[in-house]
C-alpha cells in the first residue's frame, strides 16, 4: 500500500515537471520552430498542440515497449522512423477532418517529425522507463507544450487583431499591431515571455 501511494506521488511529480519545472518551451528551449510559426492565432496553436500530444503519446508508448530491442547506434533512426509513422497518421487525419486547419498549418504538421521535444522525450524518458511512466510523462510534456503555445498565441492574436478565438474583445478604439502577427512579433513576444519566466522563478528561489 505504501509503495503504491509512493508510486502515485512519483507519477504526479513526473506530470507536474512537464507542466512547469521542465516546461519544454520556457525551460528547455526545445521545439522552437512550431512555437514561433503557428502562434499567430489561438486556433492553429491549439490544433498544433493536440497533434503534438497525440504523436508524443504514441511514440513514447512504442519506444517504451521496444526499449530492450534498441541498438545504441541505430537509436535515433528508430525514433525518427517511429515518429514519422505517427506524424503521417496525424497529417492524414487532419487533412480529412479539419481541412482548413491542415491547409493553414501546411508543412508545419510534417515538421513535427523533427520537433526536438519528441525525440528528447523518447531518448531521455521512454527508452529508460516503463510504459506507465512514459505515458504520464508524454501527457505532462504535451500539455505543457500546448499550454505555452496557447498563451503565446493568445497574446499575439490579441495585440495583432484585438480578438481571441476570433471573438472581438478589445474596445473599438484599439489600433491593431500588424507587426505582432509577423515573424518579428513571434520572436520578441517569446523573448519577453522568457524574461518574465526567469524573473518569476528567480523570485521563488
Amino acid at each position: 500500500m505504501a509503495s503504491e501511494s509512493r508510486n502515485t506521488a512519483v507519477l504526479g511529480q513526473t506530470f507536474i515537471t512537464g507542466l512547469w519545472k521542465e516546461n519544454p518551451v520556457f525551460r528547455l528551449l526545445l521545439g522552437m520552430c512550431p512555437t514561433l510559426a503557428v502562434t499567430a492565432a489561438v486556433k492553429p496553436a491549439l490544433t498544433m498542440g493536440c497533434s503534438v500530444i497525440f504523436v508524443l503519446l504514441c511514440s513514447n508508448i512504442v519506444v517504451s515497449l521496444m526499449r530492450k530491442l534498441l541498438k545504441p547506434h541505430l537509436r535515433i533512426l528508430m525514433f525518427t522512423l517511429t515518429i514519422s509513422t505517427f506524424v503521417t497518421i496525424c497529417d492524414l487525419f487532419l487533412r480529412a477532418f479539419v481541412p482548413e486547419m491542415s491547409e493553414r498549418l501546411g508543412p508545419y504538421v510534417p515538421l513535427i517529425i523533427v520537433n526536438c521535444i519528441i525525440i528528447c522525450r523518447a531518448e531521455a524518458c521512454a527508452s529508460k522507463n516503463n510504459l506507465i511512466v512514459s505515458i504520464v510523462d508524454a501527457i505532462g510534456m504535451g500539455l505543457g507544450f500546448t499550454m505555452t503555445l496557447c498563451v503565446l498565441a493568445a497574446v499575439r492574436e490579441l495585440l495583432a487583431t484585438g480578438k481571441i478565438f476570433e471573438l472581438s474583445v478589445m474596445p473599438q478604439a484599439f489600433v491593431p499591431w500588424a507587426a505582432m502577427s509577423m515573424p518579428v512579433g513571434a520572436f520578441i513576444t517569446l523573448g519577453l515571455m522568457l524574461g518574465l519566466v526567469n524573473t518569476i522563478t528567480k523570485k521563488k528561489a
Binding site: 533512426l77 503521417t88 517529425i113 520578441i188 522568457l194
Partner: protein, 196 residues
C-alpha cells in the same frame, strides 16, 4: 523568362526574401544553440549547406521518380527522413576521417543536423511549391543552405559583441538572443516584395 533568370531569381529569393530562418522559422534550434562563436557558426552553416543540397536533390529525385510513379505518396515523410539521416551519416564519417578537430568541436550538434527543421522543411517546401525541374530544386536547396549560413553568421557576430553589453539581468541568455533575432527579422523584412 529564360531558365537562367528563373534560377537566379529563385536563388536570391531563397537567400534574402524567403530566408528559411527569418520568415519560416526553420532551423531555430541550431540558430540559437550554435551561434555563440563565429567560427563554429560558419562550420555549422557549411555542414548544413552540404546536407541540405544533397538531401534536397535526392528527395526531389525519389519523390518524382519513385513515389509519384508508384503512388506511394503516403510514405513520403518516412522516405524523406531516411534520406536526410543517411546524408548526415555521410557527412559525419567524412568529417571524422578528414577533419578530426572540426568533428570534435561540433560534438553533439552534428548528429542533431538530422533533426534540423530547415532541412526537412526545405524538402517539404520544394514539394509544396511544385518545383518540377531538377535544376531548380538543386539551386533552391543550395540557396537555402547559404541563407542559413548567412543568418547564423550574422547572429554569431552580434552575440560576440552582446557579451560585452550591459543586459538586464532577467533577459540574459536566451531571451535577449530571441529579441535580437526579432530585430534582425525586422531588418530582413525590408527585402520583402523585391521579387514577385
Amino acid at each position: 523568362m529564360d531558365t537562367l533568370t528563373i534560377l537566379l531569381l529563385g536563388f536570391v529569393s531563397i537567400v534574402l526574401i524567403n530566408n528559411l530562418v527569418f520568415t519560416k522559422f526553420l532551423g531555430i534550434c541550431p540558430y540559437l544553440g550554435v551561434s555563440g562563436r563565429i567560427d563554429m557558426a560558419f562550420g555549422m552553416g557549411l555542414a548544413v549547406t552540404f546536407v541540405v543540397t544533397l538531401s534536397g536533390t535526392l528527395t526531389w529525385l525519389i519523390d518524382h521518380l519513385i513515389l509519384m510513379k508508384a503512388g506511394l505518396e503516403v510514405t513520403r515523410y518516412v522516405c524523406f527522413i531516411l534520406v536526410i539521416a543517411g546524408a548526415v551519416q555521410l557527412v559525419e564519417m567524412y568529417l571524422r576521417k578528414f577533419f578530426p578537430s572540426l568533428y570534435e568541436s561540433f560534438g553533439i550538434f552534428l548528429p542533431l543536423i538530422t533533426t534540423n527543421c530547415a532541412i526537412l522543411g526545405l524538402c517539404l517546401f520544394i514539394n509544396l511549391w511544385e518545383i518540377d525541374n531538377l535544376l531548380e530544386a538543386v539551386v533552391l536547396s543550395f540557396g537555402a543552405g547559404i541563407g542559413f549560413t548567412m543568418a547564423i553568421c550574422i547572429m554569431a557576430g552580434i552575440r560576440e559583441n552582446l557579451n560585452l553589453a550591459d543586459v538586464p539581468k532577467c533577459l540574459k541568455g536566451a531571451p535577449i538572443t530571441l529579441i535580437t533575432a526579432g530585430l534582425l527579422t525586422l531588418a530582413f523584412m525590408g527585402f520583402a516584395g523585391m521579387i514577385r
